[in-house]
Every structure is written in C-alpha cells, then in structure tokens.
C-alpha cells in the first residue's frame, strides 16, 4: 500500500515537473533561428532535398555515428549475453518448436525479396524522401525476422552478418575520415559531387553513408533477433 | 655437616621433587657463637625481657594461653607479647599434644624462627604423651623432635603455671643456658631423623629457613 502511494506520489511529482514545460512552451508558431538556418542552408550546403537527412547525416552526423555505435554496442552486448553456453542450453536442439504455418511459410517466400528491395529503396532514397539508413535497415531486418519465423530451425550465418556489420561500420568511419581529408570536416559528405537537388545521385556521400548505415543496421538488428532466439553459439 | 674447608655442605632435600628444590634454600643450620660475655649478658637480659611468643595452639593447652593477655594476668608487664609470625618471635609455645600432622608444622615454624629461640612445652601431652600416650597418631615427646627449654606440666596447667614457666624461661635465658638453637644445629641429623621417622609425607626441605 505504502508502495502504491509512493509510486503515485512519484508519478504525480513527475507530472508536476512536466507541467510547466507543457504550459510554458505552448504550440510553436514558427521554427527558430537554428531551424530556419538549416532549412535555408541545408540544400545549398549538401544538396540534400531532405533537410532532416542533411541534419542527421551531416550537420549532426557525429550523433548518427554515435547512434550506430550504440546499436553496435547493444548488438555486441546481446550477442555476448545470449549464447547457448550462457543460457544453459546444450548442443541438443530444443525438441518441440512449433512448426510455422503454411501461410507464413508461403508468404515469407513471396515477401522476403520484396522487403529487402523495399529496404534498399528506403536507404538509397534517404536524402530525398522520408526515411534513410535506419528505416531501411529495419525493413531489411524484418525480412529476416519473417524468415526466422517461418523456419525457426534455420540458422543465420553469424559470420557473414558480423562481417557485413564490421565492414559497413568501418566503411562509415572511413567515409567520415574521407570527409575530413577530402572535404572540410569529419563526416562532411561533400567528398562526392553534390549533384542536383532531388536526383538520386546527389547530396554528396549521403546516400553512400545511408547505404552503409542501412546495411549495418540491417545486419545488427538481424543479429539481435537471431541472438534473442537464443541458440547462438 | 661441613666439608674439610669448613664450608657447609648443602642439604640433600630429598623430600622435595627435583623440580622444586630450587625454590628452597638448602643451607644447613649453623651454630652461632655467643658474643663477648658482657655484651651477651646484656643481650640475654634484653632477650629475657622481651619475649615474643609464637603460640602453636592446636591442642587444648592453647586455651590457657589466652587468659595471659587479659587484665587479670597481663603478661605484657613481663615484656611478653604474642607475635603473629615466627620470623619475629623468640618463644615457641607448643600448646598441647602434637599429632603427626601438626608436628610437621611445628618443625617448620620452629626452623623459621630467628635465633636465639626458645621452646616452651605446654602440658603433659607435649612432655610425655599424656592422655594420648597410646594414640596412634600423636607425638609422645616433643623434645625428641625439637629442643625444649621449659616444660610446663599439667593437664592443663593453669595460666599461673604458665607465668611461672615464663619466669623460669627468663631465668634460663639470663643464665645463658637457653641454647636450644645451637643444640638443634649440633644434633641436627638426629632431630631430623626423628622427625622423618614419624612424618611420612615429608614434602619440605630438610631445614626450613
């Protein structure tokens, strides 16, 4: 009882703390100076139609690199935690895993390719349309999830995933360094020509970076899903 | 009791376990020559006028010693007073029969007194065994074990008899005849043999300094 009261008090306190923020800031009427600067300069600076992408990959690309690192660390952590040995599962296969339904199996066969393609599309067009490397990577991982659901006994090649993850990550860092050496700063996408705003090949190395991120995120999420399945060596 | 050079031979102390012999002095008793005549006379007078008694009151005779302190008999006026430790006493009053058990204590106390020292045997029992003459565990004659200067006979002697005995003792001292200490040293082996014959559980040194 005491505990409930305390929980209530805690939540109420937090609500009270949130109140001035909700009241004091109100609904914004116009973007601030920084946002305006981004909106006005981003296309010119990086040639990206999607201002958000320009911010995510270039201006605040360092955040994104960090974010990739977070995901990477999480994958590593999950992988290290959930091994067969540590989960106490022996070499024997768990006997009675329910078989997937026919519908699932069939749909998976049909959808996998489509999903992967969609994912690739999303990260390739990250600088033009909503979406980007993360979104694309997630879609790709969905394909793998479907595969895992359909064929629970199947095993992903952990080696390949890991290699993709490593290499794309390293390449991302490499792109960052390239920006520093070939352009004006670390993660500066202007190592490639900016191209015409709105075209697929534009915005410097943003599509490349997003592709790398897409691959990496796809691999990482797949890895996480695989690990959560709990039969990693 | 001495070797050729006149150095006293240490006592064997065989009654003691070897480990305890170091705790006790093993020197034998010695005879002490009196001082020059005139000095010794003076000293003897002083000794006779200052009789500090160690009462050994295990027998019924001891009860007759107490009244001497009272106003009625007042032994103090004769320079007699009780003393609680043998070290400081000069007169050993053995108040009644001595059993085998108490004899050991009598010997020990006697030997611990400083010379010159005098012994008063009080009552028949100490003199000849008295009513306990056929008892299996009493000593018949105390003078076989330590030298006695004055015998006060009776069963029991009255305090007056005691006072008379002390007067007699004073006389003997002044006459220079109370040499019990030297006698004991001289006949030490005989006395000791007598003592040991009676006392079976001998656990003391041969001479208790």
């Amino acid at each position: 009882m005491m505990r409930r009261v305390l929980v209530f008090l805690a939540v109420a306190g937090l609500a009270a703390a949130l109140l001035p923020l909700a009241l004091g800031t109100g609904v914004p009427e116009a973007p601030g100076a920084l946002a305006t600067a981004y909106l006005e300069d981003a296309p010119g600076d990086f040639g990206a139609a999607n201002v958000v992408t320009a911010i995510v990959v270039s201006y605040r690309g360092f955040d994104t690199l960090g974010e990739v690192a977070v995901l990477f660390a999480a994958t590593a952590g999950v992988g290290a935690l959930l091994t067969r040995k540590r989960l106490g599962i022996g070499d024997a296969e768990p006997a009675d895993k329910p078989a997937a339904t026919e519908i699932l199996v069939t749909a998976t066969g049909l959808l996998t390719g489509l999903l992967v393609m969609f994912g690739v599309y999303i990260f390739l067009h990250g600088h033009l349309t909503p979406g980007g490397g993360f979104q694309g990577g997630v879609v790709i991982a969905t394909a793998l999830l479907l595969g895992l659901l359909a064929r629970p006994e199947s095993k992903l090649s952990h080696g390949i995933l890991s290699a993709v993850e490593s290499l794309s990550g390293a390449a991302y860092v490499g792109m960052g360094l390239a920006g520093a050496f070939l352009a004006w700063g670390f993660l500066d996408p202007r190592v490639l020509p900016l191209g015409r705003i709105g075209s697929l090949v534009s915005a410097g190395s943003i599509p490349v970076i997003y592709s790398l991120i897409g691959l990496k995120v796809g691999a990482e999420l797949s890895g996480i899903l695989d690990a959560l399945k709990g039969d990693r060596e | 009791m001495s070797d050729k050079k006149g150095k006293p031979v240490p006592l064997a102390n065989e009654g003691l376990p070897p480990g305890e012999r170091g705790l006790f002095c093993d020197a034998p008793p010695r005879e002490y020559a009196p001082a020059a005549k005139i000095v010794e006379d003076f000293w003897n007078w002083a000794r006779s006028q200052s009789l500090w008694i160690l009462g050994f009151g295990t027998g019924c005779g001891a009860i007759e010693l107490r009244p001497l302190m009272t106003s009625r008999y007042d032994m103090y006026r004769f320079g007699i007073q009780p003393r609680p430790t043998p070290r400081q006493s000069s007169v050993f009053v053995i108040g009644g029969y001595a059993s085998v058990k108490t004899l050991k204590r009598i010997v020990r106390s006697y030997e611990q007194m400083m010379g010159p020292k005098f012994v008063v045997a009080l009552g028949s029992c100490t003199i000849n065994g008295g009513m306990y003459w056929d008892s299996y565990n009493t000593i018949k004659r105390i003078d076989q074990y330590i030298p006695v200067d004055v015998y006060i006979a009776g069963c029991m002697p009255r305090p007056e008899a005691l006072l008379a005995g002390f007067q007699e003792l004073k006389r003997i001292i002044r006459a220079g005849k109370a040499e019990g200490q030297n006698l004991y040293a001289r006949d030490f082996e005989r006395y000791k043999a007598n003592q040991k014959r009676v006392i079976k559980d001998w656990n003391m040194p041969d001479y208790n300094w």
């Binding site: 306190g13 937090l14 605040r60 960090g66 690192a69 290290a80 700063g185 996408p189 | 204590r105 300094w209």
Partner: protein, 1029 residues
C-alpha cells in the same frame, strides 16, 4: 593539437573491425583495444602538455561546420584532463580485466572500448544532444560490460542499472528538447549565453537536464542500482565505473553548470552533500569491501559535485573557476586514482579463498590508496580538502564544513577498518600476492604519490624539509630488505640529522621540544635494535613519525603545520597497526586522530593566524579541541590505552614518551600565537584546568586496575598528560614552568619505563603482570631503571619528579585553584597504587619457574636506560640544569613568581632546594644503610619459598604471587569512578551513527523497482525543492 575526432574514428573503427580482428586471435583484439586506449591517453597527455604550457582551448567542428549548425568538440584543460583520466583508468583496469576479457565473449572487449569512447565523448562534446548520445554509448557499453563475464549477481545488478539508466536518459531527453525549444540551440555555450532559459519553463527544462545528470551521478537515495553494480561487477568494471565514469559525468555536470540558476546550484550542492553524508554513513555499516567502496564512491562524487556547485553558486574560495578546478579537480583526481586502485586491489584480494595478510607491496599500495582516499597528506585530496575547508570557513559555512569533515571521518573509519583487516589477515593464512593484478593498484598508488608530492612541493609546501618524513619513509621502505639493525641506526641517524637541520630554524620552545621529540625518536630507534631480523615496516614508520614530529616543530604556516601533523598521525597510526593485535586499537587511534586533526584543520583553516584576533575566538577553540583529542583528554582518551598497549614495545614508548608531547607543544604554540593567552577567555583556562585534572585522575584510576603492563603505562601517560594540561591551563609563569618541566620529566621517566618494560616483555613473552614476578634477580638494571622511574613519576623526593609536584602545587595554590590542588593530590596518591603494583608484580614477589631462564634485557635497551638514569640523577641533583632553560623559555610573559636563589627555588608560597634535599636524603640513607650493615648478624640468603606460610609450605609460585586484581578492595570502594563511561559514550555514539547508517541502508532493498522508485521520487522531491527555492 590533435583533433579528437581522429580518436573517435580510431575507437569506432577499431570497435567495428574488432569482430574481424578477433578472428585472428583474442590477444590481438585485446591489444587493439588497449592500444586504442593508449592512443587516447597519449592524446590526453599531449593536450594537457600543450594547454598547461599556455596553449588555448580549441573547438573542433564536424562536417565542416561549427556551432550552432554542427556538433562541436572542445579540448580545454578540463577536457584534456578528463580524457586522460578516462583513458588512464581504462589502462589501469586493464591489468585486472585482461584475463577475464580473454575468456569472455568478444562483447566484453567491445563494451570496454565503447564505454571508454563514450566517456571521452561526454568529456569532449559541447553539444547537449551529442552529450546524450555519448551518455547512451557509455550507458549501453556499461550495461554490456556489467554482464560480460556472466557473474550472476552482476547480471541482476545490470538489469537494475538499466532501469535507472532508462529513466535518467528519458529525463535528459525531455530536458534537451525543451532547452532546444526555448533557447533555439543545442550548443552549450550559446545556450548559456542567452537568457531564454531563465523563465519558469526554462528552469524546468534545465531541471530535467540536471536531474538526469544528477541521477547518473548516483545521488542519495537514488543510487542503490549503482552500488549494487559496484559490488557485483568485475572489479575492473567497477573501477572504470567508479573512476572514469564518475569523472566524465562530473565533467558533464560541470559543463552544464553555466546553464544553471542559483536554485539549481543549491539543489546540486544539497544533493551532493546529502549523498556524501549518507553514503559515508551507510558505508560505515558495510562489511562487504566492494560494496563499501561503492558507497564511498557515491559519497565522494557527491562531494565533488557539491563543491563544484558551491564554488559557482557564490564564489566559494578566492575566485570561482580556479578554486573549483583546484578543489573539485583535486578531489576528483584523488577519488579517481584512489578508487580505481582500491577497486582493483580489493577485487583482487577480496576473494574468499585468500584470507591471509597482504604481501608488502600490495600492502603499501593498499595503504597509499586508502590514505589518499581519506585525504591524508601528501595526496591530492589533502591539498584539495585543505583549500575546501579554508574556503568554507572563510565564507562561514560551518555546517557544510562540519558535514564534510564528519563524512570524511566516517569514510576514514570504514576504509581503514578494511585496511586494518587486510593488513592483518586471518591467522595462519598465507600472504596474498597480487601478481599481475597488482599492476593497476600499484600504478595508481604511484601516480597518487607523484601527483600529491608534485602538487605539494610546487604548491603550498615548497619547503623540502617538511617532506623529509616521507622521504625517510620511502627510503627505508625501499631498503626494507636489509638487516633491521642497520635500518635502526639509519633511522636514529635520520632523526639526528633532521634535528641538526632544523635546529637553527627553531625558536626556544621548538628546540626544547625537539630534544624530546627527535631525541625520543632516535632513542626508540636505538631501542628497536634489541631484536634482529628485518622487522619490516617498523623503521620506515618510526623514522617517518619522528621526522614528522620534527616537521611539526619546524612548520611556519598553518598548512605546513597541519601537513606535518597529519603526516605524524598517519605514520603513528601505522605504527600502532603494526602491533600484533593492533587492528582494533589502530582503528580507534586513527579515527580519533583524524577527528582531532579535522577539528584542528577547521580551526587552522578558519584563519586569523597571522596576527589577527579572529583566532582568539572559535578558530582557536577548535584548534584547542583538536589538540585535546590528540592529547587524549578524558572523554576522548578512548583511543589511547589500546594503541599504546598493542603497538610494538618500542613504538609504544615512542608514542607515549615522545609523540604525546606533540599536542603539548602545539598547545604552547597556540597560546603563544595568541600572545600567551588561551582562545575564548578565562573560562577556557578554568575548563581546561579541570579537564586536565580529570584526565590526571582518570588516567591514574584506570591504571590501577589494569593487568596488562603496557595498558598500565598507557593510562599512566594519560594521567601525566593531564597534569601537563592542568599546569598549562594555569597560564602563569609557575604554570608554564611546571608544564614544561613535567613534560620533560615525563619524557625521561616514561622512556625509562617503556624501555624497561620492553625488555621485560621481550624476555618473558607476556604482558600480563601477574604472569611475571621476582625478576629483580634476573634483570637488575631494568629493575633499577623502573625503580628510579617510579620514584620520579610518583614525585617522591629526592628525584626530579618531586620538582614537578612542588611546582604544580605551588602553581595551583598560588593561582587559587584549591580544589584542583586537592584533587591533584588525590590523583598523585592514586598513582602510587599502580606504580607499586607495576614494580611489585614484575620484579618482586615470587619468581615463576617458567621464567627461570630469563636474562637481563638486551644491550640496546639497557644502555639507553643507563643513560636516562644518569640524566635523571643529574637533573635531580641539579634541578637548575632543567629549570634554568625552562624559566628562560617562559621568560617574562607573565608576572614572575619563581626565582632561584642559589640552588633554592622560591615560589610565592615556599621554597625547594633540590640539591640540599638530595644531600640530606643521601646522608640519611647512608647512615641508615651503615646501621643496617653493621648490625646484620649471620645473614642467610634464602630462596623464594622460604617464607612463613601459616606453617605450611607454599604450593606453587603462581598461586603464591599476589598480583591478580591487586587492588580489588580499591575497586570495591572507588571502582565506580572507572566505569568506562567515555568508552560507552563513544560506543553509543558509534552505535547511533551505525543505526542511522543501518536505517538508511534499509532503503537499498535490492529490488530494482524500488531503486527506480527512489530515482523518480528523488527527481520529484528535487523538483519540489526547486519550487521552494
């Protein structure tokens, strides 16, 4: 300057490629990880070197842009230091982590890399959201790191850690986004420069930021999750969490300080101080070392945060940032290295299989780390704490000052308790050796020593003479392998050399005490030659303590004095700890020693010592109180008997005869600095007088009932110090003369007593008096020494002790302190009891068969005793030898009542001719002796059992020696006076503190949800307080 982005690229590249590298072999992967850390370290040091030599801080933009558009990293002094610290911790921890990382999945190594990079990012970034990203990188890294070697408790702790971490990061995000919304920027500097955050919404937004960071800093009570993690994780992980992580987070807090308003800052200060107090209270109750270190860790971090906030809040110290950097930075550096080292060390040794004592090197490391943690000199924490205390005192924040010092004392208590336990180990266990795992702690210790020493020598204490104790300790410790006797001679020589070096610097008072303090050190160093063998640790400590005493005399500023004082406290504490059963007494020794020192510190720091009048008030009283604790005044004496009794015999002598004069010296110095007056006015004198008197009486009474010879002497010392205090308190010529005379006399006869007793204990192997007896025939010189000493101590003419009594009563009656005089008379009568008992039970009575082989004490003890006897005799026959210099010292500060006429000393009331007394006594004694010899007829030397024993023979010497509970009737009559009230009071005090700690620690239920509740409640309460402020 090296662009930090390269390093991030390096870290990330290495991390991403690590799985591939790992296929080549784990060793190579680990080498890569450590190599990256080393690169960070190199960069950090490089930056530091540039910035320290006058370079400017630099900003580094990303993607070719600077703020506000892009994320900016800054390399300034604090950042460089932070990066260095993080990397250094990582490398230090490597010594302990490497083996485990090799055996665990690769995730562990990656986590290590991520954590360190994340922390460096936290340090470097100037962007609020980027800060969040790095917070999360390090958080995720930490989550993975906690469980990397799959120890079950750590897994549980990690989950709790994650709950709290998730809450904190959500709070942070809310804060960040509203800061952005209001200030229209994510850059810290721009946000801080505007006023957009000053309104209620801004305050709330900043509050969320702050609350998140505070939660990350593990405030009380919202820190159970962290402590659980500290306790259970791999020690290397804990070290990084406690050292590197805390450093980075504190720097993060430091960064957002400019955003904070006064109300926020007050919250930080309050929360930090509460955490400091509560952490230490709970830590004191903790017996699991790693968890204890965890509590200590949160406490320290709380203190640093509070200091940073206070410095900013209202310019604590002399000017804001420099002060904050010095104090908070110093404390942080101290905490970082000490805690890292301790976690690594404790993790290595706190293993249920290894219960033995520590090996010497490990012990040295543990000692240095613990001492640094507690803030003993010469470590950085000491200098920082001094400045902090000064600033707090200057600004009149007495409550905070008390809190800081009280918390530190608690911390000292539990850290040293652990250290004591580890020093001793359990009987019969093999020593614990650290091997490679020791590299981290030893390195941390060395860095601490280097940092502290450099900081001290190049900073506030440039006088190298004051560092001599440390140098001596270090040299002798390094030479610890050579034969002990050689070291003893070196130690004595060091004392002599130091004496020669400082002599010219000292004034008369200093020289007077130098004779006792340094002479005592040399004397007992010589005495220590009585035993061969290495006697590890003894000589370095003895030498350090001796020289520290000298340094106390030579100190010129309050800080120098306090530096030397703490050095002395530390060295003497270790001397006590070195004793066979020294663990418990050493603990109370150091706790009371530090308690006194902290009072002293507060008083000294409060200033007014350069001729001002401020010192005559509270500061002076605080100093006085501190000195009284150290002197062992009744009520705060409880540390004294045990430590004198349980330390090595020569150490006891040193403590009692020499070291106990240090507070006496300081008292005189205190009074002199106030113009021969006591702080606080005439009442102080009166109270001090009664206190001294109570000490004298109490000491004597306690001593009467001891069975332990050294305890008897310890209480005796207590009593004698009481007289010295009493006479000092009289504050007139006679009083001061008496006090100094007593001090010197006490040195003489207590040295003799302890030397003799050391020999007795060495020869008999026991300290219980009733187990001895009849040693006069075996140890005649020791007997004579004790005889002379007790005659002198009891004040019986004709030896010099009577001079002390005569002076004392002349003073007291002359001063009008009549009741005091009567009580003093009683106390000095009581002294007879224990003195007689001492000499009777040891040297007279029945010898024990088991001691039949006992010989006279070794020459190393006998010769100093002979020397002291000669000195005692000389000053007894010619009191002017001692009194002339003392009278000159006291000078004409007070109206003169004492004067010599030839050999006769006259007071206002009477006179005393020591020489004539000695002649008359000698003559009479000779006469009586001649009489005795002339009339000794046929003496027969007899043995011990030739006693009248009610006509029986004694059975055993043991039962015939009347010694056990010698003064039982006295106990029946006056025993009620010696019920150990002070002990009970302090016990109750300790129990009280412990039960507060015990109640507080009930908060830490182990339930992760409760911890989360604490976090949210903490935030809510904080918000409420913000509203109130």
């Amino acid at each position: 300057m090296v662009n930090p982005l390269w390093l991030f690229a390096l870290s990330l590249g290495a991390a991403f490629l690590l799985p591939l590298v790992d296929r080549l072999g784990r060793r190579i992967a680990l080498a890569l990880v450590h190599g990256v850390t080393a690169a960070w370290l190199a960069a950090g040091i490089f930056w530091l070197s540039i910035l320290l030599s006058g370079g400017e801080a630099m900003d580094f933009g990303t993607a070719g842009f600077m703020a506000p558009l892009a994320i900016v990293l800054r390399v300034g002094l604090a950042e460089a230091a932070g990066v260095t610290a993080v990397a250094l911790t990582g490398l230090l921890a490597a010594s302990s982590l490497t083996r485990s990382l090799r055996d665990a999945p690769l995730g562990g190594s990656m986590a290590l890399l991520m954590v360190l990079m994340g922390l460096s990012g936290i340090v470097l970034t100037r962007d609020l959201f980027n800060l969040f990203v790095f917070l999360e990188i390090s958080a995720i890294g930490t989550y993975g790191f906690l469980g990397f070697d799959d120890r079950k408790p750590a897994l549980r702790a990690a989950f709790k850690y994650m709950i709290a971490g998730g809450l904190a990061s959500s709070l942070y995000l809310i804060g960040v986004i509203y800061v952005y919304r209001l200030a229209d920027t994510l850059n810290l500097d721009i946000a801080a420069s505007g006023t957009a955050l000053s309104g209620p919404a801004g305050t709330a937004a900043v509050f969320f930021l702050l609350a998140a960071l505070l939660v990350e800093l593990k405030p009380f009570p919202a820190n159970g999750w962290a402590v659980d993690a500290y306790e259970t994780a791999h020690p290397g992980v804990s070290a990084i969490l406690s050292g590197a992580s805390a450093t980075a987070l504190l720097l993060a807090l430091w960064k957002i300080l400019p955003l904070l308003g006064p109300a926020h800052l007050s919250l930080v200060a309050a929360s930090g101080l509460a955490t400091f107090a509560a952490g230490n209270l709970v830590g004191a109750r903790q017996d699991r070392p790693l968890r204890m270190l965890g509590y200590s860790s949160v406490a320290q971090v709380g203190l640093v945060a509070a200091v940073a906030a206070l410095a900013r809040l209202s310019g604590l110290g002399d000017g804001g940032s420099d002060f904050a950097a010095m104090v908070a930075g110093g404390l942080l550096l101290n905490h970082l290295l000490a805690k890292t080292g301790l976690f690594l060390l404790a993790g290595a040794v706190e293993d249920d299989r290894a219960r033995g004592p520590l090996s010497p090197l490990a012990l040295a490391a543990a000692g240095i780390l613990s001492a640094a943690l507690v803030g003993l000199p010469p470590f950085p924490g000491f200098w920082a704490k001094w400045r902090l205390v000064r600033a707090l005192a200057d600004s009149g924040r007495w409550w905070i000052l008390a809190l800081v010092l009280g918390g530190s004392l608690l911390e000292a208590f539990y850290v040293f308790r652990w250290l004591g336990a580890r020093t001793k180990g359990e009987a019969g266990e093999a020593p614990v050796r650290l091997g490679i795992r020791g590299a981290g702690p030893v390195l941390a210790a060395l860095l601490l020593v280097a940092a502290g020493t450099l900081g001290g020598i190049r900073g506030p204490v440039p006088d190298l003479l004051l560092w001599a104790p440390w140098a001596a300790a270090a040299v002798l410790f390094l030479l610890d392998g050579i034969p002990g006797r050689l070291k003893g001679i070196l130690s004595a020589a060091a004392a002599a050399a130091f004496g020669a070096a400082v002599w010219g610097r000292l004034d008369g008072l200093g020289q007077f005490f130098a004779v006792m303090l340094l002479g005592g050190g040399a004397l007992f160093s010589i005495a220590a030659l009585r035993k061969g063998g290495a006697r590890r640790g003894l000589y370095p400590l003895l030498s350090a303590a001796t020289l520290a005493l000298g340094a106390i005399l030579a100190a010129r500023t309050p800080l120098e004095f306090f530096f030397a004082w703490e050095t002395m406290t530390a060295a003497s504490w270790l001397l006590v700890l070195r004793g066979r059963d020294g663990r418990k007494p050493a603990l109370s020794y150091i706790v009371f020693g530090l308690g006194g020192a902290f009072l002293l510190m507060a008083g000294l720091a409060a200033g007014g010592w350069d001729g001002g009048t401020a010192a005559a008030g509270w500061p002076g009283l605080l100093v006085l109180a501190g000195l009284l604790v150290k002197a062992g005044a009744l009520g705060v004496h409880v540390w004294l008997p045990g430590s004198y009794a349980e330390s090595d015999d020569e150490s006891s002598g040193f403590l009692s005869a020499a070291l106990s004069k240090a507070p006496v010296f300081a008292l005189f110095a205190l009074a002199l600095s106030l113009g021969a007056a006591l702080p606080g006015g005439p009442w102080t004198s009166r109270v001090l007088g009664w206190l001294g008197l109570a000490t004298a009486l109490g000491g004597a009474l306690y001593a009467v009932y001891q069975e332990d010879i050294k305890r008897t002497l310890a209480y005796s010392s207590l009593g004698q110090i009481g007289y010295i205090l009493l006479a000092f308190a009289a504050m007139d010529q006679a009083g001061w003369t008496t006090s100094l005379y007593l001090a010197l006399n006490h040195f003489l006869y207590k040295s003799m007593l302890f030397l003799a007793v050391a020999g007795v204990i060495q020869r008999t192997g026991t300290r219980n008096m009733y187990e001895m007896g009849g040693l006069i025939k075996k140890m005649p010189v020791s007997f004579l020494s004790v005889l002379m000493a007790i005659i002198a101590l009891s004040g019986v003419p004709p030896l010099s002790g009577f001079g002390g009594k005569w002076l004392l009563y002349s003073t007291l009656i002359g001063k009008g302190w009549y009741l005091e005089a009567a009580v003093a008379f009683f106390a000095s009568g009581v002294a007879f009891l224990y003195l007689y008992r001492l000499i009777h039970s040891i040297f007279l009575g029945q010898p024990k068969p088991s001691q039949s082989e006992v010989r006279e004490a070794p020459a190393a003890l006998v010769l100093p005793q002979l020397l002291l006897m000669a000195v005692l005799m000389a000053v007894s026959v010619f009191p002017r030898l001692m009194l002339d210099p003392i009278l000159a010292l006291v000078g004409d500060r007070f109206p003169t009542t004492l004067a010599f006429e030839g050999s006769r000393l006259r007071s206002a009331l009477g006179y005393w001719d020591g020489t004539l007394t000695m002649v008359v006594t000698g003559g009479v004694f000779a006469l009586c002796l001649a009489w005795m010899l002339a009339n000794l007829h046929n003496p027969q030397s007899v043995r011990q059992f030739n006693i009248v024993f009610a006509a029986e023979r004694p059975l055993r010497p043991e039962t015939t020696h009347y010694a056990w509970r010698f003064f039982e009737p006295y106990r029946k009559a006056l025993g009620f006076l010696t019920r150990e009230r002070a002990e009970r009071f302090w016990d109750a005090f300790g129990t009280g503190a412990a039960s507060v700690g015990g109640a507080l620690r009930r908060l830490y239920t182990g339930n992760g949800q409760t911890y989360a509740l604490h976090v949210v409640l903490y935030v809510a309460v904080l918000y409420l307080l913000l509203g109130v402020l």
